[in-house]
Amino acid sequence: MDLFLQQLINGLALGSLYALFGLGFGIVFATLGILNAAHGTYASWAAIIALAAVERLNLPFIPALLAGIFGGGLLALVVDQVAFQPLRRRAGGGMISALITSIAAWIILDSLAGTATGHQSLSFPRDSYPDTIFFVGGIPLPAIQIITVLSMLVVTVSLHLLIRRSRFGSAMRAVGWNQTAASLGGVNPRYVVVITAFLAGATSGFAGVLGGISTNNVSFHLGEGLMLKGFAAVVVGGYDDVRGTAVAGVALGVLEVMTAQYLSSGLRDGITYALLLGFLLLRPRGLFGSAGFSRA
């Protein structure tokens, strides 16, 4: 029973990482209509920046975390303006052009990340983050896992409120639906796009820094792993609803850990991808997605 509870907590923490990453990925997909292959690299770079802030500048945990998040956001903003903005001015093209420029950005950022880390897997020094382990009824509860789960909850709630309750959120949804119509309604699409890209990069960067700490792995592989699972979380949850992404991400994390523990570690990734394919085939709008939401 202890083992089960412990694995449940591990699953929740892992799933929160997937969810946090997926939130950023999902906003870009729903609002900007871009399947962004470069999104994983934002997470890798955020972790690298946070690590550099810790090692080179001797910053404490919170400022280093913020530096990573800000770096991820800034990177997303630059990529958006360099790789996607030129395509928006032309009619047509649509998803394929943006996918290909995002692949280009992915190749560039991935290889630069490889150079930055010396093609090794680095890790945060032990004393650079809260590494206390609480014990609740004999079950170990590392502080970083608690931070991960709480961060995910806070970010999900704030993003949900931002998108559904604020004026800026209405503008985001309007731009996601139709940019021309949105600008007729007095929304500046360029401004909305830039802020959205920054938010998406920052959210995924957050996941990158926390993931880099809890998996002891800061390299370009970090973003790749988060990317595939975050993508699954977005699709399973329904990509126009952040709550769906959060629930699906956590569920996938728990499922993976439990599969590895009780069935076979070889099927760990399989279960996520099987769910992903199953949802795409049978219920493409996901668990929480609204009916009829489609992007032509």
Binding site: L87, I103, G270, Y273
Partner: protein, 301 residues
């Protein structure tokens, strides 16, 4: 003569991979030419490749005889995939094919006979001219297809499926045919890749092939089969050239080139429409009176 021999020795493997990548690009082009973005080529290649290699290992037949088997395996799988996937809307279909690649890798690791995570070494290969010959056959087939009724119907379906169906073309059937062609060529490419690498692992057929091949096709031009081959060649040569000029940043150079081409040449290097417009414009210039500086002449976008 000596420089030629040196060039051949230095770049033979690059040329081989350019030929192999042409198959993946052609496979991607086959579905793109009916307006479908699908990454499933990688799955067809994996199926054809592992099946062909197992066949060679098990029975010891000539690898040349395993090629048709790999193509048939790819075609069969693609037919099944087409039946399931074509019901989906276009962008869901693209995502589903991406999910299919991820599952393929898990299957390769878990199914016996594929070598699992350790991979599978392939003790046979083919001489270079065989790769070229097989590609030539594929090119002839694509060339004849593009001028056939199927080719015309495919263009109609790509431009507008609804209009195509009012012309008596069944879009779903054309798309199924496109998938089967894509599967056959993809399976063939998978087997050829196995023979070129002489080693297979679960990572041999993964997302990177899918992404680079889509990029290669769009780079070369997705409106003509030659675009796929040019794109594959450029995409194979780029890393080698970048390696020679700026070794430390070769991947970065690839990415930058891809980005620039996509932004400035969105219809790719080979664009039948631009070529037709170019000739039309020249004809217009030739026919126009000498004194009239007709604006139509320079009007080719």
């Amino acid at each position: 003569m000596q420089p030629l021999v040196d060039f051949w020795n230095a770049y033979r493997s690059t040329l081989t991979f350019a030929l192999v990548n042409s198959f993946f690009a052609l496979s991607t082009y086959a579905v793109l030419s009916v307006g479908i973005l699908s990454f499933a080529t990688v799955t067809f290649a994996a199926f054809g490749g592992f099946l062909g290699v197992r066949l060679v290992l098990q029975t010891g037949i000539d690898p040349l005889l395993a090629l048709p088997a790999a193509a048939a395996a790819g075609a069969l799988l693609s037919y099944v995939i087409a039946l399931i996937f074509l019901r989906l809307e276009s962008h869901w279909m693209a995502l589903a094919s991406l999910a299919l690649i991820l599952i393929t890798r898990v299957l390769i690791i878990n199914v016996p006979g594929t070598g699992g995570v350790n991979g599978l070494s392939v003790p046979v290969t083919l001489p270079f001219f065989m790769f070229a010959l097989v590609l030539l056959v594929a090119i002839i087939i694509f060339w004849r297809l593009s001028a056939s009724w199927y080719g015309i119907a495919a263009r109609a379906v790509r431009e507008d499926a609804a209009v195509a169906s009012t012309l008596g073309i069944a879009p779903r059937r054309i798309q199924t045919v496109a998938f089967v062609i894509s599967g056959a060529v993809g399976g063939l490419g998978g087997m050829l890749l196995a023979l070129a690498l002489q080693y297979l692992s679960p990572d041999t057929y993964f997302v990177n092939i899918a992404f680079t091949m889509i990029a290669a096709v769009v780079l070369g031009g997705s409106y003509h089969w030659a675009g796929a081959i040019i794109g594959a060649a450029v995409f194979t040569a780029l890393p080698v050239i970048a390696q020679a000029i700026i070794p430390e940043f070769q991947d970065v150079a690839n990415g930058v080139v891809l980005l620039l081409i996509m932004i400035f040449l969105p219809r790719g290097l080979i664009d039948p429409r631009a070529i037709r417009l170019h000739f039309a414009a020249r004809k217009a210039v030739a026919q126009a009176p000498r004194d009239a500086t007709s604006p139509a002449a320079g009007g080719a976008p």
